[in-house]
């Protein structure tokens, strides 16, 4: 026994040396010091990307009917400009933008308008939508013409073209791209960063896009750089996608000021603020915009769409998305038109392998759970994740043990344990004091909570109340 204990430390050190990578890179903990192209905090969830990474991306079957909601972006919803019985071309404008932060919507098939009415929207409400029955011909709107070389256009003209093509952030946030590229004159921006991190588990839509169309991604970045008027461009890609990195690198001309930044694989590496930190080492000030840190961030999918629009004149009407999860038979990534019901996409993946318990639009960390599979694919739908009843089970929350894991993993260095507790006790001023509005809702805290507390939903409630509080204050001060 004596000898055994005496030898123990040696044995222990041996085990540690052999397995320390595994232990350090365990789900929650990131004990390795921050290297240059990363950020402090974050988590290592199981990525589950292999299933769709090695399956060739395909083009989805032509839909018979598409339901296109007039709200496919953040901002004011569109006003439908077609009515029942109209015949429309592919790419024809069917929804007019109603404000600056808004983007027009175009038909994704040619055919006849069947209805202009309220239909279920992935956000859970009924939203004014245009239903088009396809004639199967996909006749392109005769007004659509290629724009040609982007160098012939001024910054303002480029932004107008992007606006008219209805291009919005395709990473999921769907913020209108023309607003992003219109930098206020008082801000100094020196680079455009493309987000190819795709840090959400399960999703491989951006990966397949970068592999299939690297030249489009790079071309889109060039156009965005001209629109913003900067000389420097970056493309950030996580190091778990070496073939995408290689493809993109070979698409960049040798004398160009475009650089591929290889990022550490970690969630949420693709969050705007964390990406800016990883690429430039700068912080976006609290409450500020990326432009305040001198950067504009775009998703690689958005960039590819910008390039496509200049090449063909076509607006945004289709996108890559990953349909996966343990409830789906043949998971894969495919190019789907906007307005196709989720059920149709799932059916093309062989349907359900098991009874689904949860259907998520987007990734498992930030995606939105759906109440029905009859809602349409949107401009920002990067994935359809179908979980079985067992994987979808919500664990019972228990008391907070103040382990501090949530604060350790928070990429904004907040203290979710306090924010959530104060929100649950309706102490909104305290929530504000703990900077609740800086939360990016990435879900790292709730993921890593051993007590399985509902941190993110409590914080969301708190955020809304604090925003309401601030509005009240602003009214009072006036």
């Amino acid at each position: 026994m004596y000898a055994c204990i005496k030898n123990n430390p040696v044995f222990f050190c041996f085990i540690m040396l052999k397995y320390h990578h595994k232990i350090y890179e365990s789900e929650v903990f990131d004990l390795q010091s921050t290297d240059i192209h990363s950020f402090k905090g974050g988590i290592h969830p199981p990525y589950n990307k292999e299933r769709t990474q090695n399956v060739a991306a395909k083009v989805a079957q032509e839909p018979n009917v598409v339901t296109i909601p007039m709200s496919l972006h953040i901002g004011a919803p569109c006003k439908p400009v077609v009515k029942k019985g109209d015949s429309v071309f592919l790419g024809q404008k069917i929804g007019e933008a109603t404000g600056f932060v808004s983007a027009p919507i175009h038909a994704s098939v040619s055919g006849t308008v069947k209805a202009v009415a309220q239909y279920p929207h992935p956000n859970g409400n009924n939203v004014m939508s245009v239903v088009i029955e396809s004639d199967g011909k996909n006749t392109v709107d005769p007004e659509i013409k290629p724009y040609g070389d982007f160098n012939n256009y001024s910054s303002k003209e480029i932004i107008d073209i992007i606006k008219n093509a209805g291009i919005v952030g395709m990473g999921g946030a769907t913020f209108p791209t023309h607003v992003k590229l219109s930098i206020p004159p008082d801000k100094k921006v020196d680079c455009v960063i493309l987000n190819g991190a795709e840090c959400e588990p399960y999703l491989t839509a951006d990966y397949h896009l970068m592999k299939l169309r690297p030249e489009k991604v790079v071309q889109g970045l060039r156009i965005a750089m001209r629109a913003v008027g900067v000389q420097k461009g970056f493309i950030g890609i996580e190091d778990n996608k070496p073939d995408a990195i290689e493809k993109i690198q070979s698409a960049i001309l040798p004398d160009e000021a475009i650089e591929v930044v290889i990022l550490k694989t970690k969630y949420p590496q693709g969050a705007e603020k964390q990406l800016i930190m990883a690429v430039t080492g700068r912080e976006v000030p609290s409450g500020g915009l990326p432009a305040d840190a001198g950067a504009v961030v775009m998703n690689v999918g958005t960039a590819a769409q910008v390039a496509t629009t200049f090449e063909t004149g076509m607006p945004l009407y289709k996108r890559f998305l990953t349909c996966t999860g343990d409830a789906v038979k043949d998971a894969c990534t495919m190019e789907v038109k906007v307005g196709v019901p989720l059920q149709e996409v799932i059916d093309q993946c062989g349907g359900f392998a098991n009874d689904p318990g949860k259907i998520i639009m987007g990734g498992p960390m930030m995606g939105v759970a759906q109440f029905s599979t009859n809602v349409p694919v949107m401009k920002g739908t990067s994935g359809i994740l179908c979980l079985t009843k067992a994987s979808a089970e919500i664990p019972e929350p228990s008391a907070c043990i103040r382990c501090g894991h949530c604060a350790n993993v928070c990429p904004i260095h907040l203290q979710p344990l306090y924010m959530a507790a104060y929100a649950q006790h309706q102490r909104w001023e305290k929530c504000e004091e703990f900077h609740i509005l800086d939360c990016i809702e990435c879900g790292s805290c709730a993921f890593s909570c051993p007590a399985k507390r509902t941190l993110v939903s409590s914080i969301r409630v708190g955020k809304r109340q604090v925003q309401a509080l601030r509005k009240q204050r602003a009214v009072k001060n006036k």
């Binding site: 204990i5 365990s26 609290s286 960390m365 979808a392």
Partner: protein
Amino acid sequence: MTNSNEPMLTVSSSPHIRCKQTTSSIMQNVVIALLPALFVAGYVFGIKALLIVAICVASCVLSEALIEKLMKKPITISDWSAVVTGVLLGFNMPVNAPWWMCIVGSVFAIGIVKQCFGGLGHNFINPALAARAFLLASWPTHMTGTAFIPTADTYTTATPLGLLKEGGNLSAMPSNMDLFLGLNGVYGSIGEISALALIIGGVYLIVRGVISWRIPTVYLATVAVLSVCFGKDPIFMLCSGGLMLGAFFMATDYVSSPSTPKGQIIYAFGCGLMTMIIRMVGGYPEGVSYSILLMNVAAPLIERFTKPRIYGAPIKEKKAKKIQEGGASND
């Protein structure tokens, strides 16, 4: 739009995936980490020590279940936290402690310190340590001196720190190696005799990500540096008494220690400082438990003043404020 064939879907807030770690897996890891020290205790003290630990664990778990039942709260003994409290309390008992004292201590730890303040996550001090302090104050003769001697033929009469403080037969002082391994003699409470076994457990917890390295490292480093300052042998100071048990298992209790990195460093430094002050100039030979209890009480305050700087906060907020204030006073 809806048809009857559509599946019933769960709709909940993101994130939709959770990590595998749970409260009970954390507590189980702590129990695993305490096993090496338990083995040493069994080897040195025999079955009696194991029995005491078993009584403590059983009475902690029972009183938790009973109190929660009486208060009509959900019974949470499956989270293993009462087991951890029981093992730690058992480790803090001398081997000659009577069985009823174990039960009284356990009921105090769970009933008063933990459940009276709201159960798991709400106790403001470490329940096992509070119970130890309570027992020490109530039955000092059972908790000190001869209570540590398992059989009549053992030659030591006091713990090494007791010897150091009260003088006496200094030739009975164990060597540092004996203190480190804890296999050759009886130098204290059940769980604190082998520094090596406790270090193995502590390193296991750090590697598994259960505790951070900060509290134990800073605590031990502070004691080592201060003992050099006091002109004592740092190795002796580190390996004797309940320091290793305290630094790795008691001071790191999540609930009663700060969760911020800076706060943990300040807290651990405070623990080390108090320990050395009590050991060197205080009335007791050993100060680990009281120093941790004192710092437990200070933890919320420390935490409040060590909020981490958030991403995007103005970097020189304080400096800017100072400059502003300075400018104002100059006017």
